[in-house]
Structures are given as structure tokens and as C-alpha cells.
């Protein structure tokens, strides 16, 4: 069993700067959890606290039920992959991987077995006699993973391992990490600033900002039901559109008024709102680009916009639009079914119309930034 439990974990530096506030999380055995957020949000700090590389200012950290606050990193039975790989430059790949085993005085033949095994899984067997400086970035990354693998540790920590790779390699390695996870069957804690990695790799995602946890949930949960503006804007690419709108309560029903369009909310939304006793108010309306429909002609309930920029992505166009009250909206328009006239009408200043159904709308309170339905 290799569960990890963080209770009220805090990190406060000497100059009274708080990097991590009151972090609470329970990670189940063999779960793959991703800490994601912008730079400076405290995700790496939390990871390093779990590793034992930073002191825990307050709170309890338990690995497998045992409190490990005061344990040295080597006694916590964890393995870590660093962003810059941190391979020992003066040792061969074999020795790099074998280093930790030698420290534990594991017999040499067992070391041989484990190292060659790991090398085979990672596809680096032919590099075992080379030194790190003779390897490419991707190969080095694999060695770093190999070094962490052979320890058969309870918890596998990864600190932005793909950040130093180019885009193509990154995609490749992402897939390999998923495969690796199936082979290794350990608890993973992964830190990244890239929301794509978070979504594809994690069983659960922990979204952090400024030292606080904004939301914890499965990728689907944080995508479908973000609890606040930050999470909504962070997850999903292109970013969710935020528009100024008004929530109107009419009797038992609610509708959203935006730029002349009035969209009534569906049953679930209405019940959620009335449960919380929410009245009419100004709101920020969130709609994902992929959930909007683009119309070339005006329709009932559609919002009028003008085109600012038109980005050709190949299979689709990303249109940057401005609404009448100057909200910026991005929409995605597949190109495969467009007529020639439609294509030529996609110029700067031309008018487009967008609609979206009620169920894809996210409603946020402008002051608290929390979701009115999910928060």
C-alpha cells in the first residue's frame, strides 16, 4: 500500500512568504495524480516537501499511513525524476541507474538484472555504457526514469519531466509515460504547468494557484464542472470564453441575458441555482470555444460579433471575435464543410453570429469568481 496523505501542509519561508497554504489531499495507492498550475503556484514546492527536499513548516505528511515529516528523503521510499534529469555526469548510464542500489548494498548480479530489465523497458539498453553527455534529451530523460524505476519505490515523483523537450518529443514521451504507468503499477505524483499533460496523464488533477488548491477532480470533472473562474480558464485549449452577462430570475425559472439574447437555463441548472437561493445578478458567462456554434446569418437568440483575427489551423479555423460590448470570443469552425462564399466572408470586420445551448454555459459570480452552479 502506498497511499499519500497531506494534512494541513504549509510551507512558509524565512522571510515570511507563504508558498503553500493549508494543503489537504489524500492520494490513493497506485493513483496517478497531477499537480498543475501556473509558475509560482506552489506545485513544485509541495512535491519537494513530499520528497523531503524542503522542510514542512506545518501539517502532517503520511506515506502509507506512516508520518514521514522528519524522515530524510532516502528513508521515505520515494523516487524522483527531475526536470533537468540530474544525471551524474561522470558515471555511465549503467552506473547512474545502479547508484541507488549500490548504496543499499544490493548484490551485483541482482543489480545487473534490475538495471538491464529497466533499460529494456525504456529502450535504452544500447546506451548503458555511454556517459550522459553522449545522449540526447529524450534518451537522458529515459535514463532518469530508469534510475527512479529500479528502486521499486512506493511513490514515484516527477517534477515537470517533459518541460525541457521539444514539442514532438513531448507528445511521444507523454504516451510512453502512460505506458510506463501501466507497467509500474505504483503511486505517481506528477507536476506540470501544461494542462494538456495534466488532462491526458492524470487520474485526478489538482489545480493550484498562489499556494492554494483551486480544485481537485478527474480530468472530466474539472473540464465539465470547474468550481471557479481560474480553473475554467486554465483547463481546455483554446481557453474558455468569458462574457459579461446577466442572470435573471423569473418566478421559478432562470435565464441568462447576453447582448440581446435571452437563453433560459435547463432543469438541473435551475434546481442548483434555486437551492442556493440565488437571485438576479450580474454574472460572468463562460462558454468553451468548442461548444459554440457559428452562424453566418442572424438567428433567434444568436449573439452578433465582428471578426478580429482568423487563424487557419488546417482542419479548423480559430476565429477571434469581438462582441458588441467588446468581449473577446474565440470560436472553432471546422473547415471541411465550408463553402467558398463562406470562406471568403471570413475577413476582418465581417459579422458572425454565435449560439450555444444552455447546458454548456458556466455561470460565475464576478466578485467571488466562483461558479454559481458548481462552486
Amino acid at each position: 500500500m502506498a497511499s499519500v496523505k497531506l494534512t494541513n501542509i504549509k510551507k512558509i519561508y524565512d522571510n515570511n512568504v507563504t508558498a503553500v497554504h493549508d494543503f489537504n489531499l489524500e492520494i490513493a495507492d497506485k493513483e496517478f495524480v497531477v499537480f498543475v498550475g501556473p509558475s509560482g503556484c506552489g506545485k513544485s514546492t509541495t512535491l519537494r516537501m513530499i520528497a523531503g527536499l524542503e522542510d514542512i513548516s506545518d501539517g502532517t505528511l503520511e506515506i502509507d499511513g506512516q508520518v514521514v515529516n522528519d524522515l530524510q528523503p532516502k528513508d521515505r521510499d520515494i523516487a524522483m525524476v527531475f526536470q533537468n534529469y540530474a544525471l551524474y555526469p561522470h558515471m555511465t548510464v549503467y552506473n547512474n541507474i545502479a547508484f541507488s542500489l549500490r548504496l543499499k548494498k544490493v548484490p551485483e548480479d541482482e543489480i545487473y538484472e534490475r538495471v538491464t530489465n529497466a533499460a529494456q523497458i525504456l529502450g535504452i539498453t544500447e546506451y548503458l555504457t555511454r556517459k550522459p553527455r553522449a545522449l540526447s534529451g529524450g534518451q537522458r530523460q529515459r535514463v532518469a526514469i530508469g534510475r527512479a524505476m529500479v528502486r521499486n519505490a512506493k511513490v514515484f515523483l516527477m517534477d515537470e519531466p517533459l518541460s525541457n523537450l521539444d514539442a514532438k518529443l513531448r507528445n511521444q514521451m507523454r504516451a510512453e509515460i502512460i505506458l510506463l504507468r501501466q507497467k509500474l503499477d505504483t503511486t505517481f505524483i506528477y507536476v506540470t504547468h501544461d494542462q494538456t499533460e495534466a488532462m491526458t496523464l492524470g487520474d485526478r488533477i489538482v489545480i493550484m494557484k498562489d499556494g492554494y488548491i483551486e480544485q481537485v477532480g478527474t480530468p472530466q470533472e474539472v473540464f465539465d464542472t470547474p468550481v471557479n473562474l481560474f480553473v475554467a480558464g486554465f483547463i481546455g485549449s483554446p481557453q474558455m470564453n468569458f462574457l459579461k452577462a446577466k442572470l435573471v430570475q423569473e418566478g421559478t425559472g432562470y435565464s441568462v441575458e447576453i447582448l440581446g439574447a435571452k437563453i433560459p437555463l435547463n432543469e438541473d441548472q435551475v434546481s442548483a441555482l434555486s437551492r442556493k437561493n440565488i437571485k438576479s445578478q450580474e454574472i460572468i458567462l463562460g462558454v468553451r470555444p468548442e461548444h459554440t456554434t457559428v452562424l453566418f446569418e442572424k438567428a433567434e437568440g444568436a449573439i452578433e460579433c465582428t471578426i478580429d483575427v482568423n487563424e487557419m489551423m488546417g482542419s479548423e479555423l480559430h476565429l477571434h471575435l469581438s462582441s458588441a460590448n467588446d468581449d473577446k470570443i474565440i470560436v472553432r469552425l471546422p473547415t471541411v464543410d465550408l463553402t467558398k462564399e463562406q470562406r471568403s466572408s471570413l475577413a476582418y470586420g465581417n459579422r458572425m453570429y454565435i449560439t450555444f445551448p444552455a447546458k454548456v454555459m458556466h455561470l460565475f459570480d464576478p466578485e467571488t469568481e466562483r461558479s454559481l452552479i458548481n462552486g
Partner: protein, 701 residues
Amino acid sequence: MAPAFPVKNGENERIRKKQGRGLPMTNQGLGTGAQTPQRKSPLIVHILLAQVAVVLCCLLTWYLCENVVKKQYSDATYRTELEMVDNNYNAMGYLKGENGKLAALQYDKISDVITKKPFYQEIVDEMGLLHAEELKAGRPLGEQDLTAGRLMERVTWGYDEADETGRTITIDVTYSDPAEAEEIGNRLAEKLNEILTDKSKLPGPPINQPNRIEHAGLIREPVRTGPNTLLWVIIAGIVAEGVFLTMAYQTGWKNKLTCIIMGFANLSRGQVLRGLLFFLFEVVAVGYMAFWGVGWLQKLPTLGTVKTEHYALKAGGQEVVTYGDDSFKILLYGVLTIFFIGAIIYTYYQNVKQGRLAAKIEAAGKKLKSGREDLRSLVDDQFHKTLLALPVTGITVFTVMPIIFMVLVAFTNYSGTFDGKENLFTWVGLDNFNQLLTWTAGGSGNKTFMATFGEILAWTLIWAFFATFTNYFLGMFVAMAINKKGIKLKKLWRTILVMTIAIPQFISLLYVSKMFDKNGIINSFLQNMGWIKDPIEFFGDVNNPWLSRITVIVINIWIGIPYLMLITTGILMNIPADLYESARIDGANPWQQYTRITLPYMLFVTGPYLLTSFTGNMNNFNVIYLLTGGAPTKLGAYSAGGVSAGQTDLLITWLFNITQGGEHLYYQASVVGILVFLVVALITLLVYSRLPSNKNEEDFQ
């Protein structure tokens, strides 16, 4: 990816606070709720109890000092003299040999006779004294310690050195009891007389008259020594107050007891290693302070009062030297003791603090670190302590201590004459500074200290400035020249210059200084070329000090450029090439490139280095001393203790000369040293905060 609408930051903070995030920080690592165990009775009671205990301690100390600790009397010395009547006495004598038979022994000196064992042993046995040591033969002033079981006695033999036959033999007996001393002295003199005049024992010509025994008398009275009761009571009071007051603030009997028995808090909780270490420290500390520490501290305010005594009854007669206080040792050990007291207070504080922490940890239900864990952590998380132990100790003992000591010396009159042994030195307060900081000239026409100091300081600053910056810019220039594209054999040029760094500086400097001598190579060369007629006195010309100064700076360039070239080369290669390329496209000429790109970058990186180089040059002893020794010396320059200040002297070479000169005015050297430090520190502080490295770090990164 931030939301499209910027939300005010303050808002988030408020919202989060409302949601109850962010609890105040409590004890590190122990989680919320870790508390010091509560005390049962109110604090004031404990404090009052503490005061009672203090009073009891004082009374106890008083009692011990007055009645229990043995009062001692220092020894008395009684002198007897034996005068030989016959001048031509030939020192020969038979003495009892080892196996009891008479042995014929021939002596050249009387001292041999009287220091040989059998004779002495007789007396000792006769007197019933205990255990005489082997006598050491051959020393003109023989001194033997008879370490008896109860009493110490010392018998000193001496004879008139000028008169080899030993006309007068002096016997000094030092004994605790004056009467006994007298008796022993007399008996020794008589016995000696007996042997020397015993015809049966001497083969040589007989002595007709007996030698005369003169009773010289008590030359040193016994003096009562013992503990200074008042001092001890005061010390006891202070220490007790500290200990018991601390005790009052502790909770739990374990922590209270640790205030008296250091280490108890650890021992009683199973931490044997730490507990023992603390306890051992306490034993050592108390032992040292009681036996030696208080003694040194006592003498510190006066730096010793008991002078070294020389006893001589007859003019020209030989003396007994009794060493009194040594001011140097008092100052040294006194200061060390003060530091030791600081260490004691710190360790004591740690001891108590650990007790409190241990109590908290126990209350929270956690385990304390065992001895083995402590040792293991010394190579792991506490490894820095292990690594730093030796270097920091070295620095403390060999740099910090001497500096503190010498700073204190500036407030004494320690010098060659008042060196603390023969003549005690003492505190003079700010006298040295006042005396030396006068601006008005003395009547002799010599400059005062302050004026000379000002002159030397001015030259030191000028020297440091030019030495640093000529080397810097010229070195940079050479580095840039070598580095330029298109110059071949870069390595060769650099190697030639680097080679000159390898050669020990003193050889280069000494040789070059001789090259500039009156009959040296440079002058010969110039004369041979017909450019000058008379040799130029580069270093010795009193009327042309600036010639020497400039020569020194020029030679220093020769010494310094290779090193500067190395440093600047490394930095030059790090300047991104595209900075220059874009400048060239913008139309900058080489000079502009230099001033706008190269120079700012260099100054940024080497700013701190330039500063340390400047201050280092201010204290650059070798170059000046080996080249000129400070010469030329101007007439009318301040002369202190026979040492004049030269015109290429830096403050530091002047300082050196002061210590080396006839009177060894150490205190003056200290004053100069302190002033030098103040100047250098001031400059460093001023410049460091203004350095671009501190202000504009972002611009370059």
C-alpha cells in the same frame, strides 16, 4: 492561462480568508496544538523560591571561602652565605660515593661540589625531609625542587660568576615556614663548610682557616594568599541568580534539574549522548572557571600588579628572580576566559532550550532523537556542522582572537620596554588615541603622528587607486588585443604572460628593485645609451619622492597585468557576440562598442572584484616593502620610537616598521591598524552598496 477579466488580487485574498484558509503557524513540524506542558503553581512563587535559593548560595560560598578553603601562605626565602676565605682554594673534594665509600672526584667548579647528590642527600636525610630529586649538575644557578609530600621547598645555589673559584656560595632556602627555612639554610651551609674544610677528605693543600658563614636573613616574607571572599560571593550570587531564575521559568522537574546539572534533561529522557556531552561540558567549564578562570578575570582590569622580583643583597651579587604577573598572558587568557564565558552561556541556553523542546515533543507523543541518530545526522543533515568545525575553529583561534587581542592592545602601553614580563603594561584607555591624534607639531620640528598618518593615508589611497585601475584597464586592453579576431598564436601570448604569474613574486620584485638601483642595469643601460649622465636614483631620492612612487606603480603594472588579463579574458569570452553584431549594424564605432557594451558588462561582473582588489592593494605589503622598504625617508617625517615613515610607505608597511623598530611600539601599531581597518571598512561599505551588481542585476540577466 489567466481569465479574460482581470480580477483584483486583493479580492481573492479577502475571499480566501473568508473561506477559512490560512491558519496561523504553530510549532514547527509538531502540528497544531503542540503546547508546553502547563505549570501547576503560579510563576511568581517559583521566582520567589529562586531568590531564596540565591541567598542560600551566597551564604554557603561565604562560609566556604572563609572557613573551609585552606588559607595558604606563600613561601618564605631565607638566605645564607658562605664566604671562602682562601682565594686560591682548589676545588677538589672527596665525597661519599654511591656504595658508601669515599670517591675521589675532581671538580672544576664549586657548583659541582655542592650539587652532587650524596652531599645534599645527607642533609636531606639528616633533616628528615622527604625525597630529594636528582640534582641537576652544571647550571650556574642550580635550582632543585624537592617535592615533598606535604610541603614544598626550594633550595637555590649560586655562586659569584665573575669569580670562577666561587668565592661566595649563596644558599637560598624557600620553605613554607620561615623558621624552618632558616634552619635548613644554616645546616646546609655548615655541612658544606665541613666538607670543604675537611682535611681528611681533601687531597690538596690544606685550608688553614675555616670559611665564614654569614647569615643573610629572610629575603622574602611569607604572604597570605587565598580566595578573595568578596569576589567569590559576588560571583556566586550572579551565577546562582541566573541559574535559579532560569529554573523558575522551567516546567517539570526534569527541566528544572537540568538548570543545575547540565544534560539532565537529555539523560533523563534517554538521550545519553547529548546528556553526557552537556554534563562533561559543565564539569570542564566549572572546573576551569573555579581554578583558573576567575584568577585571570581578577587580574584583567589591572593587567597584573605583581612585578617580577629580582633579589640581590649585595651589589653585583647574584640574584634570585621570582616571576610575578605576566601582563601579556593576563590579557590573552583573560580575553579567552571572557569568550569562554560567552560559550558557557550559549551552551547553557541550548541545554535549557533542549529541555523545553524535549518536553514538547514528549507531550505531542513523538520520539526523541537517540545518540546513534545524532551521530548519523552528523554525516547527513548536520553534515555542515561537521565540515565547518575545523575551518571555523581555525579562523576563530588564529584570526578572530589575535584581532581582538590587538585591538585591545591599542588601549594599553604594550611595547618593547613594557612587554609584560619584566615590566607590566596596563590599560591606558584612549590615551594612545588622544596622544597621537594631535594636529599641532611638536617642538622638535618633526611632524606629528596625525600629519604623517594623513600623508601616508593619502599616498595609500592614491597607490591603491592607480594600482588597481591601471592594472585593470591595461590588463583588459591586453586581453582584448589577444582576443581579437585574426590574431594568431593566442595561446602563445597568453602562456608567456601567465608564466610570469608562476614565478614567486618576491624574486621578481627583489630583482627588479635591484635593477633600478644606482648601479643597476637600468641606469647602466640609460647611461650607455647616452640618454642620461648621472644615474637616476629611482628609489632613494629624498627630493623626488614622486619618482619613486611612479616607479613603484609602473613596476606593479608589470606584476599585475598577467593576472588581470586572465580574468578579463574569461569574462570577455562570455559577452554574447550578438550584442556587438547589433551594435555594429546600428553604426557604433569600436570606441562606442567598448564604452557601451564591453565596459558596462565588465564593470558589472568584476565590480566586487575591483573593490576587493582596491582594499587588497591598500594592504599590499609585498610590493612596496620588497621594492622600496618604504624609502625614501623624508627629513622631518614623524619619528616614533626610532622608526621614520618613508614616502612610499603604505600604512601597512609603516605599521610593520613600527613593530620592528627599536622600541617595538606595539600599541602604536595597533592604533594604526585599527585606523587602517576603519578606512578600508568605510570605503567598502560606501562602494559596495552603490555597486551596479547590487542595483542592476536584472539588466544583465
